[in-house]
Amino acid sequence: MIELAHVAFGYGKRQLFADVSLALNEGDFFFLTGPSGAGKTTFMRLCYLDLLPEKGSLKLFGNEARDLSRDQVALTRQRIGVVHQDCQFLEHLSVVENIALPLTVGGRDVPLGDMEELLNWVGLADHRNALPAQLSGGERQRAALARAVMMDPDVILADEPTGNIDWEMSQRLLTLLLELNRMGKAILLATHDLALIRQAKSQASTRVLRLAGGELQAAGVDL
């Protein structure tokens, strides 16, 4: 689904990655860890084509990223659900409208049954008409996850989704992500939260990657 081969990227003179490779396939669940500033968010942005690699090959669903037109990039993103730490909602729209946004911009109807199911699944049925600013941190994260899965994407990229929420809410979010992974979705989750990783490893087959010093390595199993 997402394949990086010998990718290099940096901001100006600051080289973040020199030679990074990864293949994210159907049903994979990767954690991405590493110190702050190591480039986890940049790595995620590469994966959803917000950035392009300076060197190496980045393929999404078999297509080389550099060869994609802007329309093709947009269509590719419809197959990738992204959850950010800061969530990024349209603040003038209600929760349900934000969750429906991927379908709206894709010109597709919102299946009401699916929406109801999704709202119940993330526990936001009672907040459907609230504005994002009226939600708590955990509720915003769950709304972001609901929006990410609304289009039934093949891949979910979550960048520090539990950064601003308490442990109980983190557990709930992890449970939702594990459920999606069982449904065959590939998941890449960037986090500092080792307890969360241990919790996930106890419930599913997940792998941990560590990004540090410009390299991506498999982390030890004793996390």
Partner: protein, 293 residues
């Protein structure tokens, strides 16, 4: 898309408020107001010049300067020649009183016209086909050597030129108004896009194509431009209707306004505004989105 709790169209993905909304409304209203006047002025000047030109095109004047003893004889000769000239509907010599009235604005009302060597004027009214000026001049030179035909060509020519010029100025004014409106709306659209960078980021994150994002801005701006232009054009028409009447003065203000089929030009102004807004916003949005990509 219509469902309980989900009544969202792609038009709503852009936040509704902002100073650009007021700027677009004001700009399109002001431009439409000015466009009404530019069109009305152009129409009026064209009508006035055409009226003058038509009036003079149907008449000619023969000016007869002859020694005192020959004036009456040459006048009769001229009138006789005119009676047999094809294209002449009627001809008559102006009386002393009429000539005095013509000169009154310059010479006063107590002009002793019989003591002055003022040429005799003969008014000629043409048929629709008109007469052959050159042939008539040749005949007059033979039968009344003191007669000079003035078919008003030299008067008419500047009026026709002025009419064409005014028409051109009117069209240029409308084009300039449209261009200025396009520039203002482009600036407003660029400003709105820049102010909504975060919105655009979110939309791209969820897979929105540029054309979908651009369309949301285009619809928003076109709607504002339409509302503004309707208000501006309406105000322009009201202002024209409230102009004091100066009928009978044969000035440019006499025909300033719309009548008959020219009323169809009024709805063309908001229609033009929406077209300008659509093209300007679409161009600005796609260019800006390309830069932001």
């Amino acid at each position: 898309m219509s469902a309980p709790g989900i009544d969202l169209s792609t038009n709503d993905i852009v936040p509704p408020s902002g100073f650009t909304a007021r700027l677009t409304l004001f700009t399109s209203a002001a431009m439409a107001f000015l466009a009404v006047f530019a069109v009305a002025l152009s129409l009026a000047s064209t009508q006035l010049a055409t009226r003058w030109s038509d009036a003079m095109a149907r008449t000619a004047t023969i000016r007869l300067s002859a020694p005192a003893g020959q004036v009456e004889a040459q006048t009769r000769a001229v009138l006789a020649a005119l009676e047999t000239t094809p294209g002449v509907a009627s001809a008559r010599a102006l009386s002393d009183t009429e000539q005095q009235e013509l000169l009154a604005p310059w010479m006063g009302t107590n002009l002793p016209i019989d003591t002055l060597a003022i040429p005799r004027l003969i008014e000629v009214v043409e048929t629709a086909q008109g007469f052959d000026s050159e042939n008539l001049r040749l005949r007059l030179s033979a039968e009344a050597p003191g007669a000079v035909l003035d078919d008003h060509t030299r008067w008419r020519r500047p009026f026709i030129a002025a009419a064409e010029h005014l028409k051109f100025i009117g069209l240029v004014s409308v084009a300039l108004i449209g261009g200025a409106m396009a520039a203002m709306i482009t600036l407003a659209a660029n400003s709105a896009l820049a102010a909504n960078a975060q919105v655009i980021r979110v939309l791209r994150l969820v897979g929105a194509r540029d054309i979908v994002i651009a369309r949301a801005f285009v619809r928003r701006f076109s709607a504002r431009a339409l509302v503004g232009a309707l208000v501006g054009a309406g105000a322009g028409v009201v202002a024209l209707l409230l102009l004091p009447s100066v009928s009978g003065a044969e000035t440019i203000f006499d025909g300033l306004g719309f009548s008959g089929s020219s009323w169809f030009l009024v709805p063309m102004i908001p229609a033009g505004a929406i077209l300008v807004a659509y093209l300007a916003t679409r161009f600005a949005a796609l260019r800006m989105l390309g830069r932001m990509a």
